[in-house]
């Protein structure tokens, strides 16, 4: 698959048996729906807040950021925000294929991670996981 943001080469990062797709050029991260449910199960999070279809049903967020096409189905993705303490803008496939975190968004997650303890909600814990995997930029 190609990076939905910059068409760069995407490598697969397997961390603690969870696979994430990672753009080597813009550092964006694709979180596949199947992998997200595996992570949710392992973290023992059973709420609907992590279901990609539920996330896709969230209200569209008006943002200046450019629209991106889903790397799986090529359809235009929807912009929504995840989490509460650090609110992160992500792109979600309306068909439920997965979530896209822009390189800048992942960086923002990393920045905020240092200031606070464990995230309160389920989406927050996924964002924390992302921060843990991509510990170092570059």
């Amino acid at each position: 698959m190609d990076c939905p943001a910059c068409k760069g080469v995407v490598v697969v990062v397997e961390y603690q048996r969870i696979e994430l797709d990672y753009c080597t050029k813009c550092y964006g991260v694709w979180f596949d729906a199947g992998e997200l449910s595996l992570l949710a199960e392992r973290l023992d999070l059973r709420g609907a807040a992590l279901d990609v279809n539920q996330i896709a049903a969230l209200p569209e967020k008006k943002a200046a950021e450019k629209a991106r096409g889903c790397p799986i189905c090529r359809k235009k993705m929807k912009k929504v925000t995840l989490g509460s303490a650090p609110e992160v803008l992500v792109d979600v496939c309306t068909r439920g294929d997965g979530l896209w975190f822009d390189g800048g968004e992942v960086g923002q997650v990393l920045g905020q991670l240092k200031d606070k303890g464990a995230a309160a909600d389920e989406q927050g814990r996924v964002i924390d996981f992302l921060g843990e995997v991509f510990h170092v930029r570059g």
């Binding site: 080469v9 397997e14 961390y15 969870i18 696979e19 199947g34 995997v133 510990h135």
Partner: protein
Amino acid sequence: MWEQIRSNQTRTLVLVVAMGLLLLLVGYFLGEAIFGSGIGGLVVAILIWVVMNLFAYFQGDSMILAISRARKISPDDHPRLYNVVEEMKIASGLPKIPDIYIIDDPSPNAFAVGRDPSRASVAITSGLLERLNRDELQGVMAHEISHIKNRDVLLMTFCSVLLGTIVILAWFGSRMMLFGGARGGRRSSGGGGGYATLIIVAVAILLMILAPIAAQLIYYAISRKREYLADASGALYTRYPEGLASALEKIAGSTQELKTANQAFAPMYIINPFRSKGRAASDLTSTHPPISERVRILRSMAGGASLAAYEKAYQEVRGSGRGVIPPSALVGETPVAARKAEAVPAEPGKVERARETSDLLWKYSNYGLVNCECGTKLRVPPKLRGSSIRCPHCGRVNPLSSRP
């Protein structure tokens, strides 16, 4: 007893013959209406049908596998899958183990192709493979191998060719009649023969509209019946109806549609690849019975695994005296007890199964593997340039040497 399941299927036979007659009718009346010769129409219809049949018979399986972008696996690629298929080959008495294919698709589904039991293949999507535990996988493969053993693949290919021919003829017929090719249109002088022509044209138009729909309905009816039969034989082979029931339940939980499905081959899948959300439960226009009903029947077998137990459960769940199993298959059958549920030792969990499956797909796509010292694994596509890659977790720079 299972030898008889494919012979003596009067109801299926009646339906197939009905479809064949429909084809002949369409051919005759279209021929009569378009170029004034019913026999000519018949010849054209049969010719198209024969050519399509020959193609489906000799090339059908490789075509559907190619369309699905299925990849053949070797025993070492996925020992558990290979073993499960071999187990079901043994239980069903198939002469040869089918070729096993995997399809890179998150939507859970599986199908069987092949014109006869000694030249058959089964295919499963990566989405289904990673979702199922061993017992469930066995249930799904038993169902697919039942399709092979009961010769449903051949029957349904034959039927879809019939259906396809009828649809093609009706489509061409309607185009030709619309754009002035019709004999009725050319004839301006009304006479005694005009009446008969008018009737023929009317019948032809009616057939063009109704025949594809009727053929479609007949086709669905045959397909649904074969699904029940494959479930019944699957339960008999595994002696464990719960495996298939629980697999079907898992499949039902997904709403993803298969990317590469082909309408003509829909009956070959374990569940209809085209199911849309919110469709009526017992629909006449579906190739498959509703999953919930299939699960309920399998769970109502009351500790039995025989065809008779399935028949009884079928009648119970559907609340009617009519069965699905041909009576001849039930003669001489002894009661068969289902295996009790037991833990399979050392079975990989959900995450392990997902990794097993994705590792296989990465291998097929020629991805290189970089094991970083921090425990993070990087899988690198062949098109990545450069001689090293930096681990995003720990920052170490790893060389890209061991690439295929």
